[in-house]
């Protein structure tokens, strides 16, 4: 690339912009995507959502729900049973954390249980999502706060 007197300001602006992007990625509570609302107080009790006429209850134990700890995920689903077990994908809204799936196994007529870990994000962001997928039905998303 041919050197030009305009390149210094341009590159400086580029470095400043890149730095701002990087710093914003590190700030807790700041998310470049649309603001995410908590809809599940998992620290107090289980959470409930509806999908296609079915009720889905999500429970995470033990309390308080902490990151980097072995957790038990329990899902109760009303209605007919499934040909395949549902599963949970854990992630953070607005930030790629890699695939983290909780495999659920049937434990009773309407209950599925699995083990998983919610990892810690060094950015300090504590809002996590559990996407519960019911085969042939769809997915419900629970958004909650986790303790680091």
């Amino acid at each position: 690339m041919k050197a030009s007197r305009f390149n210094v300001p341009l590159v400086s602006i580029g470095i400043l912009f890149l730095s701002l992007m990087i710093f914003s990625a590190h700030q807790p509570g700041v998310c470049l995507a649309a603001e995410v609302k908590l809809d599940c107080d998992i620290q107090s009790s289980s959470c409930r959502k509806q999908i296609n006429g079915r009720t889905v209850d999500l429970e995470i134990l033990p309390k308080p729900v902490k990151a980097m700890k072995d957790l038990t995920f329990q899902v109760k689903i009303s209605g007919d049973s499934f040909s395949e077990a549902p599963f949970i994908d854990l992630g953070m809204p607005g930030m790629k954390m890699g695939p983290n799936r909780v495999i659920l196994k049937k434990n009773g007529v309407t209950t599925y249980v699995g083990q998983g870990v919610i990892v810690r994000c060094p950015s300090g962001k504590t809002i996590w999502q559990a996407v519960v997928t019911l085969p042939d039905v769809g997915s419900v998303v629970f958004t909650f706060d986790v303790i680091y």
Partner: protein
């Protein structure tokens, strides 16, 4: 159920995705700092060696969690170490920035620094001097591979699960190490791209840009120290 080869490919592609979607934002400051620190010197080999160091650390961590077949037990045991690594990374970047601005001479730093061993002091001096041997970036990569990172934790979680499924402890070690090495290799393209974008040898009057970059490096370094102390 995925075949063994498919899982390794999956980890590699996950690394590529995470590299471009996460690593650039979170580890970009480190890579940019290392680039600016080279100040117009050859940058391909130092960055490749840095990334090799980082990947070796990931492989080592993967082998450990695979052998232990538990992510949470391992994570508890290295919590303090990772905090320290983040603080040390911040100190290194801050000092790099200070020497690049010319505000502090390297001799002042080493007179004031506590005695930490000949090898560490010699490595540090090499990093802060104008002429740097590319191999100096290997210990840096090995160390900074220990920085706390959400996606790395997620990958380690999967590596631990592979260890649970292995027939023997050695099998767990090998599968964990292999998976994490594939993940680390996948993250290299994104960070290497950042290093190429901040290679300013072609730029006239780049000294001004280095000064601006050095000030930003100090800010990033201080931020890392603060984050590490709060982690």
């Amino acid at each position: 159920m995925l075949s063994t080869n498919s899982i390794y490919i999956l980890f590699f592609t996950t690394g590529v995705t995470i590299g471009f979607g996460h690593c650039i934002g979170m580890c970009g400051p480190v890579v940019i700092s290392l680039s600016l620190n080279l100040k117009g010197g050859p940058s391909v080999w130092p960055h490749l060696i840095y990334n090799c160091g980082r990947t070796l650390t990931y492989g080592l961590l993967g082998g450990i969690v695979g052998g232990m077949a538990s992510f949470t037990r391992f994570a508890e045991s290295i919590d303090g170490l990772q905090k320290g690594v983040m603080v040390v990374a911040g100190v290194i970047i801050t000092l790099m920035g200070l020497t690049m601005t010319g505000w502090i001479h390297t001799s002042v730093i080493f007179r004031a620094a506590p005695p930490v061993g000949t090898f560490i002091t010699r490595t540090f001096k090499q990093l802060l001097q104008k002429k740097k041997h590319p191999l100096m970036y290997l210990p840096l990569g090995l160390l900074l591979g220990l920085l706390p990172c959400g996606p790395v934790y997620t990958a380690l979680l999967a590596a631990a699960r592979s260890g649970m499924e292995a027939d023997t402890t050695l099998g767990g070690v090998l599968s964990g190490a292999g998976l994490m090495t594939c993940f680390g290799l996948g993250t290299i393209p994104a960070l290497f791209l950042v290093s190429r974008l901040t290679d300013l040898r072609w730029l006239r009057h780049r000294e001004k840009v280095y000064k601006i970059g050095a000030v930003l490096m100090i800010a990033v370094g201080v931020y890392f120290i603060w984050k590490g102390l709060r982690f």
